[in-house]
């Protein structure tokens, strides 16, 4: 009885050494960040991009944001009627649309609640700033992110593809 307890102990000690030795000869998993970069998943929630044309200043996103980090100002303008002869349309136009990424918790409620599809997710993540004030991205910056928004990738088979994206 004592012998197999002792042999179990010795096997336990050597087993551990075996694992570390085995891993030593396996390739390491680290990615050398500044030189090699791991592409984030297309769906990753890196930064929110704004498509200015779609926005009608309905304030739904600013209102439903739990962190109160979206600041919007707009004004109303007259626009020529779509069909000639129709009456003139008054349209709200964005003056200021800031998202304060220092407060944002990337929950995605604003992207989801926007009825006019003006906000999209982009997997971009390299926008850290030396001073926290620059994390307040204004309209142009959010517009620039629009270029990095991936087009919606296909869904797994068995998924029911609805009309909307």
């Amino acid at each position: 009885m004592v012998m197999d307890a002792a042999s179990k102990q010795v096997k336990g000690m050597l087993g551990g050494l075996g694992v570390t030795l085995k891993t030593m000869f396996r390739p390491a998993v680290t990615v050398q960040y500044p030189h090699e970069k791991e592409a984030p998943a297309p769906r990753a929630r890196g930064v929110i991009a704004l498509l200015e044309e779609n926005c009608t200043v309905c304030m739904l996103c600013a209102r439903s944001c739990p962190d109160w980090c979206i600041y919007i100002e707009g004004h109303k303008e007259k626009r020529p009627p779509r069909r000639e002869g129709g009456r003139e349309r008054t349209v709200s136009v964005l003056d200021r649309f800031d998202i304060d990424y220092a407060l944002c918790m990337y929950c995605g409620i604003c992207v989801e609640v926007c009825p006019f599809d003006a906000l999209h997710w982009s997997p971009e993540y390299e926008y850290s700033e030396p001073s926290i004030a620059n994390l307040l991205h204004d309209m142009e910056k959010l517009g620039e992110w629009e270029a990095t928004v991936p087009d919606p990738e296909p869904l797994e088979q068995g998924a029911e593809v609805k009309g909307k994206k």
Partner: protein, 393 residues
Amino acid sequence: MTLGTRPAGFDVDPSLYRHLADAQVNVELDTGDMILNLGPQHPATHGTLRLVVRLDGERVVASDVVIGYMHRGYEKLTEFRTYPQITTLINRIDWLSSFANEVPFIHAAEQLMGVEAPPRALYIRTVLTELSRIATFVLFLGEMGLQVGAITPAFYGFRDREYVLNAIEAATGGRFHPNFNRIGGILTDLPWGWIAETRESMRKILKSCDDFEDLVVANPIFQQRTRSIGIIPAELGAAYGVSGSNLRASGVDWDLRRDGKPYLAYNDLDWKVWTHPDGDSFARYWVRLQETRESARMVLQLLDNLPAGPVMAKVPRIIKVPEGEVWVNTENPLGEMGYYVVSKGATGPFRVKIRTASLSNVSIAPWLLRGVYVPDVITVLASLYFILGDIDK
């Protein structure tokens, strides 16, 4: 200036929010012993837990746990938020298995509204819950080794966690805070090729569980350090409200996925609840290792027979939950997590009682640590496996 009544000119006296070090400590001071402060900044406490320990030499005479350094006041916040906003908040309570936090709350809201998520959504929710369980347990398997002194397992733990987090990020968009659950289903379906990728990472997880078995469980030094250390008797554990793997390691065959009210897709799976008779730190490590393997097999089963169909039930745009109360508790990786939701028909709940597992799991620590050596204090705390956000809510 008491904060209870709201004065007219509202100025906040900042000094009231300073954390005074002299928390009322329930440890009588007498000359003989040495008071040692483990925490709030200490490598062994998973975050800001402060353990005031009275030592006689290296043996603990009495200990008192001081918590609250991470208190964010969730139950107060839920009274000022609508349902979608709350789901984004509550997955920050137990940030290791954040998807698993959302499931009971969404289930509670669905029960009150009488809505049922389609089967495919339930399956995907179960897969993601089990993935977050694996992510939490794999970190524990490495972390426990670190607390007991072996540096290498911790890196294996983090390496395996990456496989699972990448899978969660590919499906939900967020590695840590997925925010993927909606009342009535989930946001969108899985991306193309996700199932094959996840199967591959499950194979890696199963292989690395064997590594942990050889490197840590079979190691006689680890066994010497953890066997019969911090034994929790079954009935006292239940009376303290200890739940999850900690209680199953004391021989209690009780797992809410099987014994609680049926939720998600656990009834369609055949899986085994692992228990261990001893109830010591070794048993807790062993049970969590077997549960990691069980979860990996469950994920493979779920992915094999994932039903086709929609992922979102018919739910109005502005969600108003009818009046009523409901208690839903699920088997989270750290133990039983439950929400007692009281709703009065508004877009947000009236009162949400959040029952987290770690609060009760740690409340047994002062009882457990009597007459224990200092190194074993760290082993017992590590084997209870709590998350500070879970304790302090």
